[in-house]
């Protein structure tokens, strides 16, 4: 069984946010509720201030604290290493959101992040929390794995595009979007990334490209001191470091 993981090359990432958009389209995200976000921040002050950015999907941790705290088992880790939410079991207690060090989880019922509120514009008549005009085919929707348009009052997060990845032929070391045979199994953000800054593959296979890149270019993990052991690795090089703090503007 594979252990799926992602490598993001910060030397190549241009901060274009195509990943964010592709994820939003693929997974029918509410505008503003970005499972895959690119965080922009400034470091330093005039005259040497720098604009920085940092792409951040769910880290699909090896030791996911979100799963450890979930009182119902709604958050779980699949055998191939993907952390998912079962929307039929989630009680909306939000403990997982509080316990995720990377802030990647979203609760359905909140003040809209952009106006007008798309949930009102495209109101749903069934249990779905909204009914967007663009959406994945119903057959792909899978609430047990947190895939699709979520119901009311549950928590959602990046699934590593589980509806795609889980269909990949067993034993595939890397899901390379350049390979037409594998493209449809590759996460949408990886497919779309224009400079090819994202790689996706099997971390348990030492021959996979992701494993070799992590080894060769000394991949690092975000907030590694917390012990969650992300399965998303960042290659830094000339792309700067991963942020080691969460609050950038300390004094606000």
């Amino acid at each position: 069984m594979a252990t799926w993981g992602m490598v993001i090359d910060l030397e190549k990432c241009t901060g274009c946010q195509a990943c964010t958009l592709a994820c939003g389209m693929e997974n029918n995200r509410l505008p503003g509720e970005n499972w895959q976000d690119v965080i922009f921040f400034t470091e330093g002050s005039y005259p040497s201030a720098q604009l920085k950015w940092f792409p951040r999907p769910c880290q699909h941790c090896e030791n996911p604290s979100c799963m450890a705290v979930c009182p119902t088992g709604a958050t779980f880790k699949t055998a191939d290493g993907v952390v998912l939410v079962d929307w039929d079991k989630c009680i909306g207690c939000k403990y997982c959101m509080v316990a995720c060090p990377y802030g990647v989880r979203f609760y359905t019922e909140e003040k809209p992040l952009v106006s007008p509120d798309m949930r009102k514009v495209h109101a749903s008549k069934d249990e779905h929390s909204w009914n967007p005009p663009w959406k994945m085919p119903d057959a792909r929707e899978d609430w047990k794995h947190g895939v699709g348009i979520q119901p009311h009052d549950v928590v959602s997060k990046c699934t590593f595009c589980y509806h795609r990845v889980s269909m990949a032929p067993p034993g595939t070391p890397d899901l390379d979007p350049q390979d037409p045979k594998l493209r449809e199994f590759t996460p949408a953000c990886v497919v779309t990334c224009p400079p090819g800054a994202r790689l996706f593959g099997d971390l348990s296979n030492p021959e996979s490209r992701v494993s070799r890149m992590i080894g060769d270019k000394r991949g690092v993990r975000l907030l590694d001191q917390l012990g969650n052991k992300p399965q998303v690795y960042y290659l830094t090089g000339d792309g700067g470091a991963v942020p080691s703090n969460r609050a950038i503007d300390k004094k606000a």
Partner: protein, 402 residues
């Protein structure tokens, strides 16, 4: 109050309705709190059905748990504290505390119910919880164990209250239930502390001290709640009280316990803020925000330090009016404490996106305040009901003073 207490369920129901027409402190409290409860609950239901939980100001971008969770924690810990105070006589043999034991247990029941009610209105799927938590058996989750222990606690409280209602104060069964309930409540409040304390990624909460703090500050809010409610039951006039209760109220024992608890809580707060301001660790920035919040100063100076001095002063500590004032302030202080503890702990966002890289703001919405009102009014209404129906001043015959 010298009520004629109902003996059958039918009489009790009739008595409940009759209270709307009666005129004494308990009945007035009942009428007022039922009115507030009806209004606030109606508003909360209206908002939840029209807006859903989007009527709350909590947000994925920062403060996920807001005033509703704080209210739940406030009530759950007050309930635990009341059970501790009841245990003084029922478990540890300090007989002078017998006159408040039954009232403590009833109050522990109603505060816990109020807390659960608020929690249920906060949860996305409260009914799903009823099967998903027992079936999930997530033994790694502190929240799972908190649910287990608080449920056991509630059942034991009901049994103990039933036994006291049957005037079974000291049988081996009664003592066993009392002792088990003490153990359950230590575990429950401690586990509630661990819900926050076990999260290394939230440094403002992290550590076993959180559990200890929850247990001790719970005892403090329980003590404050029982002082206020006893005076309330006797129309704030010690002359109406049975002799042993009056003796307890007018001695310096209760104030001493009270002052000690306030002192320990102040010490906890002081050391916490000291570490928080001194430390450069990522995630501690919330302490700076705390120091700038007027609420926090209200809590520390007015609601804790002032009552602490009042309860140390020999001339003030035994005077009912100062005891009541101190207790009301402490209860307010403990509510603020729960709110600021929970909110400040989440003030540092976790890679939340472009516009959320500072300390995140949060003020409860009107719906959330209404939910706080639901909690307070339901606790008061149920308390008044118990006072009218169950003779909460009862004590073992040699203690009862009549």
């Amino acid at each position: 109050m010298n009520f004629i207490y109902p003996k059958t369920p039918g009489e009790a129901i009739a008595g409940t309705f009759r209270m709307f027409g009666e005129n004494h402190v308990t009945a007035n409290l009942w009428k007022l709190s039922v009115a507030v409860l009806a209004a606030s609950l109606a508003y909360v239901f209206y908002m939840l059905s029209s807006e859903g939980h989007a009527a709350f100001n909590t947000s994925s971008d920062g403060v996920n748990w807001g005033s509703a969770i704080a209210t739940y924690v406030f009530f759950a810990l007050t309930s635990s504290g009341l059970t501790f105070i009841a245990s003084l006589s029922t478990v540890f043999g300090f007989k002078q505390f017998y006159p408040v034991a039954k009232r403590c247990i009833w109050l522990a029941i109603v505060t816990l119910i109020a807390g659960f009610a608020v929690l249920a209105l906060e949860l996305g799927h409260p009914f799903r919880m009823l099967w998903a938590m027992p079936l999930g058996m997530q033994i790694r989750s502190a929240m799972f164990w908190m649910g287990v222990f608080y449920s056991i606690d509630l059942v034991l409280l009901f049994i103990k209250f039933y036994l006291l209602w049957r005037e079974d104060w000291d049988s081996s069964l009664s003592r066993f239930v009392g002792a088990s309930s003490f153990v359950a409540v230590v575990l429950a409040s401690g586990m509630l502390g661990l819900v926050f304390g076990s999260l290394a990624m939230r440094p403002m909460w992290f550590g076993s001290a959180t559990s200890l703090f929850f247990i001790i500050s719970g005892a403090l809010s329980g003590a404050a709640a029982i002082v206020v409610s006893v005076y309330l039951a006797y129309g704030f006039d010690t002359r109406n009280m049975p002799a042993p209760l009056r003796a307890l109220k007018l001695s310096d024992q209760l104030p001493k316990v009270f002052a000690t608890l306030i002192g320990i809580v102040l010490l906890f707060l002081l050391t916490r803020i000291w570490v928080g301001l001194w430390s450069n660790q990522d995630g501690m920035e919330g302490f700076v925000a705390l120091l700038r919040a007027p609420w926090f100063h209200l809590e520390v100076w007015v609601c804790l330090a002032l009552p602490f001095l009042m309860m140390l002063s020999p001339s003030m500590q035994v005077k009912p009016r100062w005891q009541v004032l101190a207790s009301v302030l402490v209860l307010l202080g403990m509510f603020i404490e729960r709110l600021q503890f929970i909110v400040a702990g989440q003030n540092v966002p976790m890679f939340k996106g472009t516009w959320m890289n500072a300390v995140t703001p949060y003020t409860p919405s009107l719906t959330e305040w209404a939910l706080v009102a639901v909690g307070i009014s339901s606790a008061l209404a149920l308390y008044a009901l118990g006072d009218r129906l169950f003779n909460l001043s009862d004590a073992p015959k040699e203690q009862a003073g009549y």
